[in-house]
Every structure is written in structure tokens, then in C-alpha cells.
Amino acid sequence: MQASRARLFKEYKEVQREKVADPDIQLVCDDTNIFKWTALIKGPSETPFEGGIFQLAFAVPEQYPLQPPQVRFLTKIFHPNVHFKTGEICLDILKNAWSPAWTLQSVCRAIIALMAHPEPDSPLNCDSG
């Protein structure tokens, strides 16, 4: 618990510092709960998502960073690896390929990459793609 809080605080500081470097991602921590974050990400260019802004919700577990954050789309998105109703995302790094080397910021980057390059082998939305 203490360890996860300390780590999240470091990430918070890092996010403040990186804000300018990564204009496609706006990661915001809940005012009262450091385990709740939201992110606004820009749809990648040359994809159907270009021009869109997508909102993500992060729920960070107490065992973070040994366990991955739970992330889902709050904005409706039609994508093969995202559950259309729940916004749940099928991405290996959010499941069994997670490691503490990832950060909330780099997870956002991975999700943007997933939007640009869907993985048809692990569909959550079989009608899409």
C-alpha cells in the first residue's frame, strides 16, 4: 500500500514534467484519491480515430506496480480489442505481460499504439475490424 502510493506519487511528478513532451496524452490524478486517474488521449492520425479525443479511466490496485492498473475506455469506441459496452481493453501488458517497467503514461502510449494497430487475434468486439 505504502509502496504503491510512493510509486504513484513519483509518476505524478513525472507526468507534470512530461506534459509538454507528450501532447497526445493528458493524464490527470483524482484530487482526493491517488489510485484513481483519468486520461485524455488523441486518436492517432491516419486512423478512423483521428481528430477524436478519448477518455480512459484508471483504477490502480494496492499491489501496484507489481500488478497492472485496470484501464477502460469511458468514451465509446468501435475497435476490435475494446469491449463496446464496458470499454474493457484487451492488451497483453494490462494482463499477463505487465511489469513494473511500465507506467501509467507508457500504458497510454501503448493504448494509442493499439488504436493504430489492432490485434485481430484477441478480439473483444467481433463485429469490428
Binding site: 510509486r7 506496480p65 459496452k85 517497467a101 463485429d127
Partner: protein, 310 residues
């Protein structure tokens, strides 16, 4: 990756999709998160059966009866294995089991190394490994890892290292070392420290490791580290062992208990010493290397435990 065949999603837009709190009345609502929760429940159940690290069990050398704890697992198993266990019993006094959670190699290494320092109080070895740990830190930095992603894990290992040295305020007993090795918040952090070190070493010397990795999977070095070294619970192979041994400069002996037999019909138990690159170099002119590892692991296909020589 999971395939979500059971998930049927309507093509039409449905506005009444308020599923903030998923319920399990339908498979359609049984998402990855639930699967992961189920996994961790199963893990927790398993955890109650075997601690991260077991007690030391005595390997008694007996005439005909199978060797106590180890042999009982193989009572109806192959004769070669039973024969080998008997041979093991002549050379090794005890076994300490670790939980088969995919981290057994790293966990065995952690305990064995810290136990060795606790018993030997070898200050020069501690100084030596600290210098290597510092080198590993630089390696990760030069590979582009942000400090805050790994520094907590490094700090926790160094803390354990200092506390097994006696004579300071943080000093701990052998019992406390066992307790910490069973405490997830310490044990898993140290395991993760080793995973970072291993990954850094492999990526730093990617040309050297590439052919070995290519033999295991057809992933690139970077993919291999991301998918098979850094995530907790991913099992270790000779690539991991070589990299960790090299990075920290700690030799490791692995004793193989499998069903292979010798050509001449006699039964012997093979072992392989992982000797860190460089440590045998100074005495190369004197012939065979003189390094005897103080860490001995018993490998049975898919799992590592600790062995205690007589």
C-alpha cells in the same frame, strides 16, 4: 492471448449500456478483469498450500526405502529418478522447496544468496555485489528505463543485503530472513529486482543472447525481455540464469533431476555450473576453473528448489 468467443456484442448502438458494475449472470459480462480476479483467487488458494519458501527438509540417505520427502513424490515413478534421488542423498543434506509460481528460480536465488551472506558474513562479497548492482543500475539507465520504475526494487534488495550483515541496527536473524522471504511485499520486490537486473543484462549484451533466445522462441531480444523476463510469474530458463549470474557476478550450480541416463548404465546426477563471465579469466592459465558456486539449485523440469550440500 485470450480469445473472447463467448462475448457477443450487438452491432447496433445500444445506449442503455450502463455496466459500471459488471455482474456475472451472463458470460457476456464476464470480462478479462473477472478472469484475472479468478486467477488471483486460485493463486491465493494455492498459496495457502505452499509458502513462497518451504522449510528445510532432510534428505536422508536410506538403503532401500525411498529418500524421504523427495522420493515420496516419485514412488510410483521411474526407477531412474528413484536411483538418482538416492545418489543426491549421498551428496546433499537437505532440500528447501519454493512455490511453483513461475518465480521459483529468482526466489530460490534470493534466499540462497542472502542466507549465504548471513552465514558467512562475507563483507568483501557484499562490497563486490554492491558494485555490480550499481553497474546494473547504470545499464538500465542507459537502456532508457526511468529511474522511478526500478529504484524501489533496487533499494529493497540493498536493504536486505545490509540487514543480513550482523552488527548494525537493522540486522536480522535467520528466522527473520525466512519470514521476509515468505512475505510477499518483500519477497516479490526482490524477485522483481532480479528480473530488472536480468533483463538489463540480456539487453545490454543482446548480440550474445540473441541466438539462445532465438532457440527458445522466435522473439526478438527486446520482445523476450518484455514478455518472458520482466513480468512476474514468467518462468526462467538457462538464458535468465546466465544473465543473472553474469550481471551480479555470482556463480550458480544447477543439479538436474530428470530421466536422462548415462550410456554406461550407471546412474549419476548431472549438474551445470553457471560461472559469471570474467570470474574465471584471471586463473585461466591454471587450467580448469576453481570457482565453486555457493548456490545450488535442484532443477526438475519446470521447477527449481534449493539444495544444501553435506
Amino acid at each position: 492471448m485470450q480469445n473472447h468467443d463467448g462475448v457477443q456484442v450487438d452491432g447496433e448502438v445500444e445506449s442503455a449500456a450502463s455496466v459500471a458494475t459488471p455482474e456475472f449472470d451472463e458470460w457476456a459480462n464476464f470480462g478479462d478483469q473477472d478472469i484475472m480476479q479468478q486467477h488471483s483467487a486460485i493463486r491465493a488458494e494455492e498459496a495457502e498450500k505452499i509458502p513462497f519458501l518451504g522449510d528445510k527438509a532432510i534428505l536422508k540417505s536410506l538403503d532401500f526405502e525411498p529418500l524421504s520427502s523427495l522420493a515420496s513424490e516419485y514412488q510410483s515413478g521411474s526407477a531412474i529418478l528413484l536411483e538418482k534421488i538416492k545418489v543426491l542423498g549421498e551428496q546433499y543434506a537437505a532440500i528447501r522447496r519454493t512455490r511453483g509460481d513461475g518465480n521459483c528460480f529468482f526466489r530460490s536465488f534470493m534466499f540462497s544468496y542472502l542466507e549465504h551472506i548471513l552465514e558467512s558474513q562475507d563483507q568483501s562479497e557484499v562490497d563486490r555485489i554492491k558494485a555490480n548492482v550499481e553497474q546494473c543500475r547504470k545499464t538500465l539507465q542507459s537502456l532508457g528505463y526511468a529511474d522511478f520504475t526500478f529504484e524501489d526494487f533496487f533499494a529493497l534488495f540493498l536493504e536486505q543485503l545490509d540487514s543480513v550483515l550482523q552488527g548494525n541496527e537493522e540486522s536480522i536473524s535467520h528466522d527473520e530472513l525466512i519470514r521476509r522471504s515468505r512475505d510477499q511485499s518483500v519477497s516479490d520486490y526482490v524477485v522483481m529486482f532480479f528480473r530488472f537486473v536480468t533483463s538489463g543484462e540480456i539487453r545490454k549484451r543482446s548480440e550474445f543472447f540473441e541466438p539462445f533466445i532465438f532457440g527458445l522462441t522466435n522473439a526478438t531480444v527486446e520482445q523476450f525481455c518484455k514478455s518472458s523476463v520482466e513480468p512476474m510469474g514468467e518462468e526462467s530458463d538457462h538464458v535468465h540464469i546466465t544473465a543473472l549470474s553474469d550481471a551480479l557476478g555470482v556463480p550458480i550450480r544447477v543439479v538436474y533431476l530428470d530421466r536422462s541416463s548415462c550410456d554406461n548404465g550407471g546412474v549419476s546426477v548431472n549438474h551445470h555450473d553457471f560461472v559469471p563471465a570474467g570470474s574465471e579469466a584471471p586463473k585461466a592459465s591454471e587450467g580448469s576453473e576453481k570457482v565453486t558456486p555457493f548456490i545450488t539449485l535442484l532443477y526438475r523440469p519446470g521447477h527449481y528448489d534449493l539444495l544444501y550440500p553435506k
